[in-house]
């Protein structure tokens, strides 16, 4: 079932065309990652989807309601997190989260239980009573995610939510989002410029560059492509006699394209038989390859 779609979406800022005729359909339970470099148009699309920016043409529809025509109706089932939002500095985390729950229709009892649930889930117990003006970036990020998750929305729209977090924070964040999609069945639209995040989270990836959708693909590996990392860089030309195409990438990696009659195990044992010890070998993820092709 289609939960969200964009049709003929364009956005101009003066002469700059930030988004050009962008179209997408997102089904219930999907985890779609918008991948693209900075300034590609990812945020513009998400901002239009959450009524922060108005489209120059086209529309976004969520649960059958157009965001530009009925923002309240369209956004009632959405949990948004756009960039790193700031909060009113003299209010504490509980007050902010309670207000969001109220706006989404919760009564007093529901607000209390929802604030407690999210505080525990996102481990925010030690700072929810403090004013948000005293929060660190990571705390604000957690509170923002809590706001977007409040009242159990069907769709989460997250714009580079891990940006600026430390590696531990990033890992925890990615884990939470992955669980929301896989265990709780939430539909997730997530933008990032990090291929590693897209690989970890997405079941579908949309590559955007220059305001245009370049490619839409499943998150999958290519069984016929491998990247190997030898302990000591060696000559791999012997593989070419078996039909393997060899490409050296920098001083560390070698990309191999296997012929139809050879699988991963076959090529690894061939390499080892030739006396080369491998530090690492993995099937090439298509996202990375396609992304580099599209963006370059």
């Amino acid at each position: 079932m289609i939960e969200m779609k964009a049709k003929g979406l364009s956005k101009r800022y003066g002469r700059l065309e930030a988004l050009k005729n962008f179209e997408i359909e997102i089904n219930s339970g999907d985890c779609v990652v918008l991948l693209g470099p900075n300034g590609a148009g990812k945020s513009t699309f998400l901002k239009i989807s959450t009524n922060v920016v108005h489209p120059s043409s086209g529309f976004v529809e969520i649960n059958g309601k157009r965001v530009d025509e009925d923002p309240m109706g369209a956004l009632s089932s959405v949990g948004p997190l756009i960039e790193l939002p700031e909060f009113y500095p003299y209010l504490n985390g509980k007050e902010v989260l309670s207000y969001v729950c109220k706006v989404k229709g919760a009564d007093r009892e529901m607000i209390k239980s929802e604030v407690n649930r999210l505080t525990d889930l996102l481990r925010m117990n030690n700072f929810m009573d403090r004013k948000t003006g005293q929060y660190s970036r990571g705390m604000k990020q957690r509170l923002a995610l809590a706001c977007s998750m409040a009242m159990d929305p069907k769709i989460l729209i997250l714009d580079e939510p891990t940006f600026g977090l430390d590696p531990r924070g990033m890992r925890e964040f990615v884990e939470i989002i992955r669980n929301l999609n896989r265990k709780h069945g939430k539909t997730i639209l997530f933008s990032t410029h990090l291929i590693s995040e897209a690989r970890e989270i997405a079941n579908r990836v949309v590559i955007i560059n220059g305001g245009e959708k370049k490619l839409e693909m499943k998150n999958e590996t290519d069984a016929k492509m491998m990247r190997v990392t030898p302990y000591v860089m060696s000559d791999f030309s012997f593989l070419e006699r078996s039909g393997v195409r060899v490409e050296y990438e920098g001083k560390e990696y070698v990309n191999l394209t296997l012929p139809d009659d050879m699988d991963n195990d076959g090529v690894i044992s061939l390499i080892q038989r030739n006396g080369i010890r491998l530090k690492w070998a993995e099937p090439t993820n298509l996202i990375e390859r396609k992304y580099l092709e599209m963006v370059n």
């Binding site: 800022y13 901002k47 959450t50 009524n51 922060v52 920016v53 108005h54 923002p71 309240m72 109706g73 956004l75 009632s76 959405v78 948004p80 756009i82 960039e83 790193l84 939002p85 700031e86 909060f87 009113y88 500095p89 003299y90 209010l91 007050e95 902010v96 207000y99 969001v100 109220k102 706006v103 989404k104 229709g105 004013k131 923002a144 706001c147």
Partner: protein, 278 residues
């Protein structure tokens, strides 16, 4: 769907909390108390010299409450300026700060009509400004009661008219704030418009057309102290009417201020609805 009235109340309380806990509020509160204390000092020290002041200023006032009216005029003159500075504190950054500090990403994405957000914030801003006015007025009323043993009704008229002015000046500052995305521009523009542009316009209109531009906000706001002595400082003339401004004058000036409130807030609502955060 949440009832709009309930949403409005919750939004108002949400913003009100943020306003009354802010440093701006405490600073403005402190300033209003300091100004009221200074005027209290003046009132106690100058009470016996008021008749000299009145005759030296050629005010030619008569009646039973001359001293009270003259002193209330001074208090009223200061009171009329309090909402201007309070609205600069609370109203100028009201909308521009949503963009500059990125709170818009939190608030615009919620399923709540922008008009509710705007009105909630506007009434919260008006409430804290009125609280400042009330603080000052309570001190004034105490001083007058102590000095004169009673309160003349004009003081209450003045306070009520100041409340109307609070709505008008707050709406104007919200309008200016909705034009800019930077707080600094909004702060400066409000002060420049009120203290420079309106006064410049008054001078031009008086000199060229020999008339007091009663329709300008600063002129309409002067009713808050003209209810004591109907003294109009023109560039070419000083018009003194010993009688306080009458009811018809109060109503017409209140109406002008109300129109400023209505029109400014209406335009602000349109601009706020179209506001984007790039």
């Amino acid at each position: 769907m949440v009832n709009r009235a309930v949403l409005m109340k919750d939004t108002y309380l949400y913003y009100l909390r943020n306003y009354y806990r802010s440093k701006s509020f405490y600073l403005m509160f402190f300033i209003s108390v300091v100004v009221a204390i200074l005027l209290t000092y003046l009132s106690f020290r100058y009470i016996n010299d008021l008749s000299t002041f009145i005759s030296r200023a050629h005010l030619n006032l008569t009646g039973s409450h001359v001293n009270e009216l003259a002193l209330a005029y001074l208090w009223g003159f200061i009171l009329s300026n309090l909402p201007v500075f309070a609205s600069v504190f609370f109203g100028s950054p009201a909308i521009s700060s949503e963009i500059e500090s990125k709170t818009a990403f939190h608030i615009f994405t919620l399923p709540i009509p922008r008009i509710v957000l705007l009105l909630g914030k506007f009434f919260a801003s008006v409430s804290v400004t009125i609280l400042i006015v009330i603080t000052y007025s309570v001190i004034q009323l105490s001083v007058f009661y102590y000095l004169f043993g009673g309160i003349i009704p004009q003081i209450f008229y003045s306070i009520l008219l100041t409340f109307v002015f609070v709505f008008a000046i707050s709406a104007v500052t919200f309008l200016i704030s909705s034009i800019f995305n930077k707080n600094t521009y909004a702060y400066i523009s409000v002060l420049i418009i009120y203290l420079l542009v309106l006064n410049a316009a008054t001078i031009v209109i008086e000199l060229l057309y020999k008339t007091v531009p009663y329709y300008l906000l600063n002129q309409a706001a002067s009713i808050t102290y003209r209810v004591f002595i109907n003294l109009t400082f023109g560039i070419t003339t000083v018009a003194v009417n010993p009688a306080p401004a009458g009811y018809s004058s109060m109503v017409s000036n209140a109406l002008i201020m109300f129109l400023y409130f209505l029109i400014s807030l209406g335009i602000t609502a349109i601009l706020f609805e179209r506001k984007e955060v790039k």
